[in-house]
């Protein structure tokens, strides 16, 4: 290549990438539109919420069209998405981002969730008309970062995306001005977030310095080379440095996922923030962080995904370690949730516990891909089972989307009428507002993982993949056992909430809650809760979709 070749290729590459970057570009346009609408004083006629909803819907439509095109391109040649090479993953912007079904799946996930949250904020009236543009700019900006997180293919983009997600959410947590708990929560979140980002950046610079590249596919190649020259795990300083670098990067992700030693911000932030913001943080940012974690783990494993890679012992240990972190996180979240009296705090601990369950799927994937004794399982079976892990994770996330949003939405609606988020104040809800009580019941039972609801299907898939991993590494049995015990245990504190709603009579001076089905609030809750039920009964459609997406990735 000479210089003009480089410029020509670059310009062709950018022109090919921009249409694929469409949903993100629409979000950016919406952010600018939100600010312009206020600048010209038009927000009396065109409220910020409407602008945000239109923009999000357009971006969602674009992403859905991309997914549809992807499906059609591939299913023409063979049933399902079997032929990966037909439309290979396309690196956007000289390889900084990756455009593949996984990216598009998460775009749809995040944008759909954004749309639901915007709908919820319209229903509950937070933010008011004056603050609406600020709030939606922060919300959209944060979602933009999450979408980059899901498609990142370069460590620089990883860091940038994590920051783009975090910094607006700090401001969103402190959005309710003049409330001490809100500002305190935001401050705690900022301090923790800054610390975690610093540690993560340290790991990124260590890793890219050690291997000479920050581009994830080149990183995988460099790791293979690295593994050839450094074989022993125990007493090689370079391998220890590598392990340390990976560990510190995972710390950054663990902060976003609120995994066990890095979860302290989560209950405070959720309690201080409005329930709408809590819903956004608990689902969208978790989903994006899991996408990032899966991408990072697969980049480590690289092309040799059938065990026996030079450093597979190290990777399997990482998988087992992730499994134990997952088990401890789930246990801790459930134990701490038991004593809570504030509903948002309880949901925060439940969020921590669920991050633990979902992390088990990633841990199982790492173990399955890297367990020694490659002869015992043919490579294609390994890939199949690893794909099942990601499939379980994707399905779990989809169910989690609805059940957690439902729970937070009900908290927000009750808060609007009784000004309370204490569990004790939910007493007698089933008589005042049967709809809210019934929807809360469905969401909470689904969070436990009881059979007719979506949570069961998700949990079943994740535990099944941990079972598969247990056959390759007995340590994973412990993780599985911890997951099962936790599921049983979590029943108790969810039931406690339901007991207040259904059995305890309301206090005499309590403010009544009145949300009929035929109101915007009632419809919203019903719309969010119905998929929880549907995903528990009609599992096939989404699970096949998730499987196809997972297959593409591996």
């Amino acid at each position: 290549m000479n210089f003009s070749d480089i410029i020509n290729t670059l310009s062709a590459d950018t022109r090919a990438s921009l249409p694929l970057f469409g949903p993100e570009l629409i979000l950016i346009g919406t952010i600018v539109a939100l600010l312009l609408v206020r600048l010209f004083n038009a927000d009396k006629y065109l409220p910020g919420s409407i602008v945000a909803i239109i923009g999000t819907a357009l971006a969602l439509a674009r992403a859905a069209a991309q997914f549809w095109m992807m499906q059609n391109q591939t299913s023409g040649s063979a049933p399902g998405i079997q032929d990966v090479s037909a439309v290979g993953p396309f690196p956007m912007f000289t390889g900084l981002l990756l455009y593949d079904p996984f990216t598009v799946y998460f775009r749809i996930f995040l944008l759909l969730f954004l749309l639901f949250v915007e709908w919820l904020t319209v229903v509950t009236g937070i933010p008011d008309l004056e603050d609406a543009p600020d709030f939606y700019v922060l919300l959209l900006g944060s979602t933009l970062g999450m979408m980059l997180m899901a498609s990142a293919n370069h460590l620089l983009m990883v860091f940038l995306a994590v920051e783009m997600t975090s910094v607006p959410s700090y401001a969103m947590v402190g959005f309710l001005k003049g409330r001490k708990s809100s500002s305190e929560a935001a401050l705690k979140y900022v301090v923790y977030g800054a610390g975690a980002a610093g540690v993560m950046l340290y790991g990124i610079s260590l890793l890219s310095g050690l291997l000479g590249t920050a581009h994830l596919p080149s990183l995988a190649q460099a790791l293979v080379e690295f593994g050839r020259t450094h074989t022993s795990l125990a007493d090689d300083a370079a391998v220890r440095t590598l392990a340390f670098a990976i560990l510190t990067i995972l710390v950054g992700v663990a902060f976003k996922l609120s995994l066990f030693p890095f979860h302290f911000w989560c209950p405070d932030a959720f309690e201080g923030a409005a329930a709408e913001v809590g819903a956004f943080l608990s689902v969208a940012s978790k989903g994006a962080a899991f996408a990032l974690l899966v991408r990072f783990c697969l980049a480590l494993v690289g092309e040799s995904r059938t065990g026996g890679a030079p450093l597979s012992e190290l990777y399997m240990n990482i998988g087992v370690a992730l499994g134990f972190v997952a088990a401890v996180t789930a246990t801790f979240g459930n134990l701490a949730a038991y004593t809570q009296t504030n509903m948002k705090r309880l949901l925060a601990y439940s969020t921590i516990a669920h991050a633990g369950y979902m992390l088990m799927a990633v841990a199982a994937m790492m173990v399955i891909l890297n367990a020694p004794g490659g002869g015992s399982l043919p490579p294609s079976v390994r890939i199949d089972r690893a794909a099942t892990c990601i499939q379980g994770l994707l399905y779990y996330l989809a169910v989690y989307f609805f059940m957690n949003l439902g729970a937070f939405a009900i908290v927000a609606l009750i808060r609007n009428q009784t000004f309370s988020e204490e569990i004790a104040d939910y007493a007698g809800l089933s008589r005042q507002s049967p709809l809210l009580a019934a929807c809360m019941l469905i969401c909470l039972f689904s969070l436990v993982g009881l059979p007719p609801f979506g949570g069961f299907a998700g949990k079943f898939m994740v535990f099944a993949s941990v079972w598969d991993a247990g056959k390759l590494n007995p340590l994973m049995w412990i993780v599985l056992a911890a997951g099962l015990i936790n599921t049983v245990f979590s029943l108790f504190y969810y039931i406690k909430v339901l007991r207040f709603m259904y059995i305890t009579p309301p206090a005499d001076e309590a403010r009544p809650v009145n949300v009929p089905l035929m109101s915007d609030a009632g419809l919203h809750v019903a719309f969010v809760t119905l998929p929880v039920l549907a995903l528990g009964i009609f599992v096939n459609w989404l699970s096949e979709l998730a499987q196809n997406v997972a297959r593409w990735l591996l």
Binding site: I6, T94, G95, G141, Y170, A214
Partner: protein, 199 residues
């Protein structure tokens, strides 16, 4: 004449840097101090540029002149009230700071005197260090950076087969970070402004 041209910028920038620094010490008004500091640090960047160290010069401008001083000005503007507007130092402070400054000056002088300037690469005729730089490639410490921010990596891709993928350039982060800054500024403005009272 050529001597003046060669050393002129060096002398001007050097004098401004030193003069500004002395003025910082002698002024007692905080805002004026900040202004003199801008002058001194900016002249320092000029010194780097005149020595063809573009990257260090840019970093000096961005980090010290830009970042630190914007912060300082904001800090001064927000806190400049009452006793902090003008700083009068007591005799004890003068002694303490004099001792600390004098020690630092001694350290720098000793370090500078211990370098064997004869054996380092000398200035050649055009006033440019001969090792690593040449007049035609003026600016070659920042050019690869600039290219990388525009997305092209000639430092890596020149001479590779034309069918290869491009090495990752940083056009996207360079652009997307502006969106991030916009969002964050909106958030900062929201948190900083007082809520309007409802009439």
């Amino acid at each position: 004449m050529s001597e003046i041209l060669k050393h002129g910028p060096l002398v001007v920038f050097g004098a401004t840097a030193v003069g500004g620094a002395i003025a910082v010490v002698l002024t007692q008004n905080v805002v004026r101090m900040a202004f003199w500091l801008i002058l001194s640090l900016g002249a320092m960047a000029g010194l780097f540029f005149s020595l063809n160290a573009d990257f260090v010069g840019t970093a000096q401008l961005l980090i010290y002149v830009g970042g630190t001083l914007v912060l300082l000005i904001f800090g001064v503007m927000l806190t400049a009230s009452g006793p902090f507007v003008s700083i009068k130092s007591s005799a004890g402070d003068l002694v303490k700071s004099g001792v600390a400054g004098g020690l630092l000056l001694t350290l720098i002088l000793i370090t500078a005197c211990q370098v064997h300037w004869e054996s380092t690469p000398a200035y050649d005729e055009v006033g440019v260090m001969s090792a690593g730089y040449n007049a035609t490639a003026d600016g070659n410490t920042t050019r690869p950076l600039g290219h990388a921010f525009l997305g092209a990596r000639p430092d890596k891709d020149l001479g590779r087969p034309p069918t290869d993928h491009l090495s990752p350039g940083y056009l996207l982060p360079f652009e997307i970070v502006s969106v991030h800054l916009l969002v964050v500024l909106v958030g900062a403005a929201y948190l900083a402004r007082a809520k309007k009272r409802k009439a």
